[in-house]
Amino acid sequence: MSQVAENQSPLQPSSQHDEVVSPWLDAWRKFRKNKLALFGAITVIFFIILGILSPWIAPQGINDQNMANTLQAPSSSHLLGTDDFGRDVLSRIIHGARISLWVGFLSVVGSIVMGCLLGILAGYYGRWVDTIISRLFDIMLAFPSILLAITIVAVLGPSLQNALIAIAIINVPNFGRLIRSKVLSVKQEEYIMAAKAIGMKDSRLLMKHILPNSISPIIVQGTLSIGTAIIEAAALGFLGLGAQPPQPEWGQMLAESKAYITTAPWTMIFPGLAIMLTVLGFNLMGDGLRDALDPKMKH
């Protein structure tokens, strides 16, 4: 052994106290350098805080009607004006942040869980499992997604919860296909062969080795999809299939105010702006995450 010890000495790293850089820490450092992504993240965090604190920071209740004060232009008492029932638009947007983010987040989590499960099974086991799952995805993708969502809501009945379920279902194939293709490449890696050689069960192999190494495109796609899901929820709300009045969901607010687009444009502009900013924030953040998590962009 002494010979080994001698041979080893030039291989020793310079210092014992070198910093330990985990892959996630490394990604965060790269993300931090990206100004646009940081702006996106701040926007998103701003809306999340708005949503969480809405009951305390909204100047007025969501459903406080004031018939003497309908369709008021923005002023010092109503910063973003009032709608056709005299309700404060700002307060409704703040409460709407909670609903929209909740729908966006939950539906994407639902899609990811279902998509990952199906995608991993298809990618790892291949053969007939893959054929069945992939063809199912193809069928779902053959429908225009919003049409499929409308159909699902029509079957389940219009409500915010059903809109959420519909949005989760229509996004499953996107995630499923993404993770399937990633699993197909990850399972060829030698460390997967090494894990099998150790004598590991399939379940452990999938959860501890294949999933963590396939998940980064899902995180990126997930972030981008929250934006899309918010738009889809707004679209369903606009069509009267999502949130029901008087819930202050942003899309639903747009739908209610479409009659006043010329006379009281603020009732429409501000909810629209809120949707746009949130989606933009998620998109910028998603792009930043993609750059940070892409191994090919290493230094």
Partner: protein
């Protein structure tokens, strides 16, 4: 004499080739075509051959990472080919593998601690503290330091990573280690270090190695016996000394002549191999090597030579020596 640890009998792996619009089977690659050999406890058998000759496939077949088409693998008097999937998994505690590419064989998202303790977790060995202790010990054994446990693979050099790979293979105290070209991805200077480490570990833990390599020079010192493979078959198998001093098969001779000698004054006879390795899905009729053989005879083009013992423990599959033997018998 020590007892036989691993016996491989008539091992075959044929990979089907699918093609055409109906995805029908149109042919097959005989990656491994009837291997028979055995390894005794504490010894090293090297499998040598060009790329594509089936040596890595053999390693994986022995580990049961891929299912053999035919034949049997008997490890510690247990036939692995007859065991259930779960039982095979459990035998991996006693047989482990070292991989070729140290950059690809370690999970980039796991720290060294996690990589090394995983075999113990999988086989339910030790408590959390004991495992931690064992990881530290093993890091020292392979010539790294215990504080390396917290780091990630990308923070190490190739040689260091290969030491981690070796440590992982040793965690469960296995008896048999299948080393699949463990040094071919490393610099020459590091190769020597890793080979020395493997030899030291063999003495220390009474390990048995199956050492897969494409370079006869690398395996000379580490192996007790050497098997030379060509297109899925063993063409010559002998004790290391016998093989290096008196190789008989024309293919082995050609391989040996290509090993560089670190002395420029020695002029050695070079036997160049002409042509490429034939398409393994359409191996030549008769002896698979006849298309590149210098001593090719008519019989080589029609009849497959069988592995025959020409001296004690020295087997060759070549018509040249079959005739000799017949001649001598008369």
């Amino acid at each position: 004499m020590s007892k036989t640890l691993l016996q491989v009998h008539n091992l075959k792996k044929h990979f089907p080739i699918y093609g055409g619009i109906l995805n029908k089977k149109v042919g097959e690659v005989k990656a491994v075509d009837g291997l028979t050999f055995s390894v005794k406890e504490g010894e090293t058998l090297s499998l040598v051959g060009e790329s594509g000759c089936g040596k890595s496939t053999t390693g994986r077949l022995i580990m049961q990472l891929i299912e053999p088409t035919d034949g049997s693998v008997i490890f510690e008097d247990q036939s692995l080919t007859e065991l259930s999937k779960k039982q095979v998994r459990l035998t991996r505690e006693r047989m482990q593998m070292i991989f070729q590419d140290p950059y690809a064989s370690l999970n980039p998202r796991h720290s060294v601690q996690k990589i090394l303790e995983e075999p113990l977790i999988v086989h339910g060995i030790g408590s959390k503290e004991e495992r931690k202790q064992r990881v530290k010990e093993m890091l020292e054994v392979v010539g790294l330091s215990s504080y390396h446990a917290k780091r990630y693979p990308h923070q190490f050099s190739g040689g260091q990573r290969q030491r981690i790979g070796i440590a992982r293979a040793l965690m469960t105290k296995p008896k048999l280690i299948i080393a699949d070209e463990p040094v071919s991805a490393l610099d020459v200077s590091i190769q020597a270090q890793v080979l020395n480490l493997l030899q030291d570990l063999q003495k220390k833990f009474q390990l048995t190695y199956i050492f897969i390599a494409h370079d006869l020079g690398v395996v000379r010192h580490i192996s007790k016996s050497v098997a030379v493979m060509y297109l899925g078959r063993i063409v010559e198998i002998a004790d290391s000394e016998t093989l290096y001093n008196g190789a008989l098969h024309p293919y082995t001779k050609a391989l040996l002549s290509s090993v560089p000698i670190p002395d420029p004054t020695i002029q050695k006879e070079s036997i160049p191999l002409s042509g490429d390795l034939p398409d393994p899905s359409k191996p030549p009729q008769g002896c698979a090597f006849h298309s590149r053989c210098e001593a090719c005879m008519d019989v080589c083009k029609t009849q497959k030579p069988t592995l025959m013992e020409v001296e004690k423990d020295h087997y060759v599959a070549c018509h040249l020596y079959e005739e000799d033997k017949q001649f001598n018998d008369k």
